[in-house]
Symmetry: C2
Subunit: 155 residues, 2 copies
DNA sequence: CTAATATAGTTTCATATGTAACTAATATTG
DNA sequence: CAATATTAGTTACATATGAAACTATATTAG
């Protein structure tokens, strides 16, 4: 594998962690606006709904695993969604500590409206990339994500 | 340009904004730990120092432009850095509203220690990518960043 | 069966963050 | 030059967030 010359000086604007952070914040900020303005949802609430839309009847802990949210964030998002009538909670029959969560009819309606908006935003974001580039990007991000896994021995 | 088939269902784990956010948070979290444990610096404080290390004698507003931080965040980071003796402030001769900021000797020493650590962390992160892939990644992120620019008309 | 341990989820508290209001200085306009 | 508007930076307030403590239930060990 050919090597890039090792950098010895730091230029912030070329520093990958910084670039990732700025890009991610810009993208998330715009999307958060969409969800919030149209539906009054936070990004976390939307993530919870997105998972429930794919997987009905899972628990808060499972949502946390799928979304990379910690349990406090999940708990808060869920409680907001219950207040706003988007999500319903019922006790688990087997385990009294768990709650089974699902979208309400209202929640499902909102979900069905948001999905095309979210996909449209994603499409607009990547539209300047060719199909090959889009696949390349997905592949590279997979590799990075694998390297950066939170539980790996710290660098 | 060949087209990818348009998605009609949303799978959170394939959704680019989500993936960007998780990846960025994972990477930033690890790096933040490094800065904090070794030097007691927050990510924003480190960003400010990184800019001052490249560009001595600039103002808080300029730092904000370079780092994509808002002025309140810059103000707070700078005031912490002054308290901890990493940064010095002197009044601008031409404009009494501005302060000229620079690293102190102590700050420069810390900067010189952090730079190799930061570059090492970046290298570890991208080491599974070939040189060509690293260039590809930089290119793709440039394109995305351009598309997502904060001031573009909202999608 | 009982005691100790672990897990699911919530609440509390301390800190971080963003928005808006504010202060001080400069620039503009008439 | 006086009045007004703009800019640099800070402070105040309200909200968001994460870590740790807590409650309730379930599991394991003896």
């Amino acid at each position: 594998m050919p090597e890039l010359p090792s950098k010895t000086t730091l230029r912030l604007r070329d520093f990958l962690p910084y670039r990732l952070s700025v890009l991610s914040n810009t993208v998330s900020g715009k999307i958060a606006n969409l969800y919030d303005r149209e539906f009054g949802l936070s990004i976390w609430q939307w993530r919870v709904m997105a998972v429930l839309g794919e997987n009905a009847g899972i628990t808060a802990t499972e949502i946390g695993q799928v979304t990379a949210m910690d349990k406090v964030a999940v708990s808060r998002a869920v409680s907001g969604l219950i207040d706003s009538g988007h999500v319903a909670r019922k006790a688990s029959a087997e385990d009294g500590r768990r709650s089974i969560l699902s979208l309400t009819t209202k929640g499902k309606g909102v979900y069905d409206k948001i999905v095309p908006i979210a996909l449209g935003a994603e499409r607009d974001l990547v539209e300047t990339l060719s199909a090959a580039e889009q696949e390349q990007l997905a592949r590279l991000m997979d590799k990075l994500a694998k390297t950066a896994e939170p539980d790996r021995p710290l660098w």
